[in-house]
Amino acid sequence: MSKKECIAMLLAGGQGSRLGALTRGIAKPAVSFGGKYRIIDFALSNCSNSGIGTVGVLTQYKPYLLHSYIGTGEAWNLDERGGGVSILPPYATETGGSWYEGTADAVYQNIGYIELNDPEYVLILSGDQLYRMDYHKMLDSHIAHDADLTISVMPVAWEEASRFGIITKDEDDRVLKFTEKPTKPDSNLASMGIYIFKADLLLAALKEDAIDQQSEHDFGKDIIPKLLGDGKRLYTYEFNGFWRDVGTIASFHETSMSLLGEQPEFDLYSKDFPIMSNASTRPPHYVGPNGEVTDCLIANGSRVYGTVKHSILSIDSYVGERATVEDSVLLPGARVKDGAHVVRAILGENSVVEENVNLGSVDQTKDTAVIGDDVVVGKGEE
């Protein structure tokens, strides 16, 4: 295989346990988002739009849907000869096999894949974040700084800073200090979990980390502090734009809602940087004679006979006569039957809200209602 400039290692093995019912049967990167997408579409589209044609996708937790969805990578123009998407689940060797124990361990176990491709740089990504980013600009910055490691960062609200890996940098963007989830942050620049390494340095660091008994084999907790301590050249690349890690039901709901409105925070309509997906081919959606739709995103294959406000209807959703849906997200195939009322809720794939059932509450102090995939909510069960 010829030498490549940069390949991506996309970490997509996470369970996303805080998404509860939405990840009971599928991995977090496979969770449906924005009507016709799945979360991993964003990272894969970013790779494609950035000209990175070799992407290893590291999977582990409940991978079937994810594997079949990614397929050959064709939907993201990543079915390239001598590259493209490779799915990398844990595997066994003559000395046995083991699960991926941490982000760094997952990449360490696939060192062979990196060596096979022999790139100069390796981009490490997470498959469960929503953003649009040209990685090639980050790579340019990495090369310009002659950095060993470049960490993509963004300013966050100070009160949120203790949830992230926080970076203090000098005027030349060189990293001075990195603290994972600090209790008293002295900076509000957060690591986005997007890294570009010089490939040789990454391989050496991973091998060293693998034999360290004290290590948790995590990029943020172990690899970065070690490299910083060793005096390596760590730089930041500042990103200013929409970026979300939808870790919880509340943030999933809030992030979904941010796609709505006249001036949405995240604009899906950009033509020069399209978000691509492997959505199934369905006919245009239908709004019935008594349908009323306002402030919504509605995907193909849906049918709306009732009233839908400020909501997202994914592929093949259904809202029956006299039913109302408000401030909610219907994932693919979800059905709200005649006369049912759904407010501030997330309905899992192919879930059903039976006739005349009331689900959810307008009371903002209450949690967003969540119905798992394939669950049927009948009268008296709401």
């Binding site: 924005g34 009507g35 016709k36 064709e74 939907a75 709505l260 409105g261 006249e262 899906l268 309509y269 033509k271 399209p274 978000i275 691509m276 997906s277 199934s280 081919t281 369905r282 006919p283 245009p284 959606h285 239908y286 709004v287 019935g288 004679p289 008594n290 349908g291 009323e292 739709v293 306002t294 402030d295 919504c296 995103l297 509605i298 995907a299 193909n300 294959g301 049918r303 997202i312 209807l313 994914s314």
Partner: protein, 366 residues
């Protein structure tokens, strides 16, 4: 071994040209927001497990090639078999309307000779339907007929549809135009590959004819039998039938006959986000495609991909194709607006239900 290969013909013009077919063959006429007519025969073939499909091209093939490409969206970009783009014969010398021009098939004999599948399913591309070709081939095998033609009992008069006279389950005559209750040909048939090759040879002197015209006097010799299809089928031959059969789909029970879980209608994939409705939009009894952005009012209409309806604009009883912009305060009524048109603010584009207005392709680039 594959049971059948497919052959789709597109090299014929409509008798009723309009602005819609000025720059494109009927096969690539946009339909129902996101489809083109050829998607239906192509998907029917793929859904029946046919993995080798030849498409006989018309002279103005640009939009058709652009649409089918390598056949990827129909899983026809294959190592063995797949999509074959076949040249049609010189256009303009043939009469309009011949759906299975012998010369078109004759010139591509090599496509038929190189395969080993026992049957060939042939289809034209004017008729929208979702048919299980497996059942068609099964019936063909079971009856032992030479040719099995896909037919439907006509629900009204249509001069563009071919009529078969049927006697005791066998076709005994063919003519143009059907009336209510006649056996209407859905321009699709199955035949053994060997017999088709033989027919091409026998009829080589009259290769300017349609296959069924050539067979006209031979229905004694050849056992041609109809296979009756009960589902929705819509022949699209002129602006009127195009409009009417687009509006048919505003009835979800008809949609269900075209779009079903086991037999998806496949088409070229685009990366359009879901349609977006802003505050104040008012939409009813309409089909809306991905990528649309709606601030105005839309009723009894079909919107293609990426159509923008600005605030205060009204679209009624109309078909608006891909990438059109209906500016603020504009009114579109009883009209077909071909792709890339901008309807300026506070202007009107209005036909009548009896005489739908057609606005040809616009110049906007995406």
């Amino acid at each position: 071994m594959a049971r059948a290969i497919g052959l789709i013909t597109t090299n014929y013009s409509t008798k009723n040209p309009s602005a819609l077919t000025e720059e494109r063959p009927v096969a690539s006429l946009p339909y129902l927001g996101r489809y083109r007519l050829i998607d239906f025969p192509l998907s029917n073939m793929v859904n029946a497990g046919i993995r080798t499909v030849g498409v006989v091209m018309p002279y103005n093939y640009r939009s058709l090639i652009d649409h089918v490409g390598s056949g990827k969206d129909w899983s026809l970009d294959r190592k063995n078999g797949g999509l074959f783009v076949l040249p049609g014969t010189a256009f303009g010398t043939s009469r309009t309307g011949a759906r299975f021009l012998l010369r078109d098939i004759e010139h591509n004999k090599v496509f038929l000779e190189r395969d080993t599948a026992p049957y060939v399913v042939c289809s034209a591309s004017n008729i929208v339907c979702n048919v299980d070709y497996h059942a068609l081939i099964d019936a063909h095998e079971a009856s032992g007929a030479d040719i099995t033609v896909l037919c439907q009992s006509a629900d009204g008069a249509d001069e563009d549809i071919t009529k078969f006279d049927v006697n005791d389950g066998r076709v005994c005559g063919v003519s143009h135009g059907v009336g209510f209750g006649d056996t209407a040909f859905l321009d699709c048939f199955v035949i053994s590959r060997d017999l088709l090759l033989n027919l091409l040879e026998w009829f080589s002197a009259v290769d300017y004819l349609d296959l069924f015209e050539a067979l006209q006097n031979d229905f004694q010799r050849f056992d041609v039998r109809p296979f009756m299809f009960e589902g929705y089928a819509a022949g699209i031959f002129n602006v009127r039938s195009y409009f009417r059969h687009s509006m048919d789909l505003l009835n979800p029970s008809i949609d269900d006959q075209l779009f079903m879980p086991g037999r998806p209608v496949l088409t070229k994939a685009h990366d359009n986000p879901p349609a977006k409705y802003e505050r104040g939009s008012h939409v009813c009894n309409s089909l809306v495609s991905a990528g649309c952005r709606i601030r105005g009012a839309v009723s009894d209409s079909v919107l293609g991909r990426g159509v923008i309806v600005e605030s205060g604009a009204t679209v009624r009883n109309s078909i608006v194709m891909q990438s059109c912009v209906i500016k603020s305060g504009a009114r579109v009524e009883n009209a077909i607006v071909d792709r890339n048109n901008v309807i300026p603010a506070r202007t009107e584009l209005r036909g009548t239900p009896e005489a739908v207005l057609v606005k040809g392709k616009g110049e906007v680039t995406e």
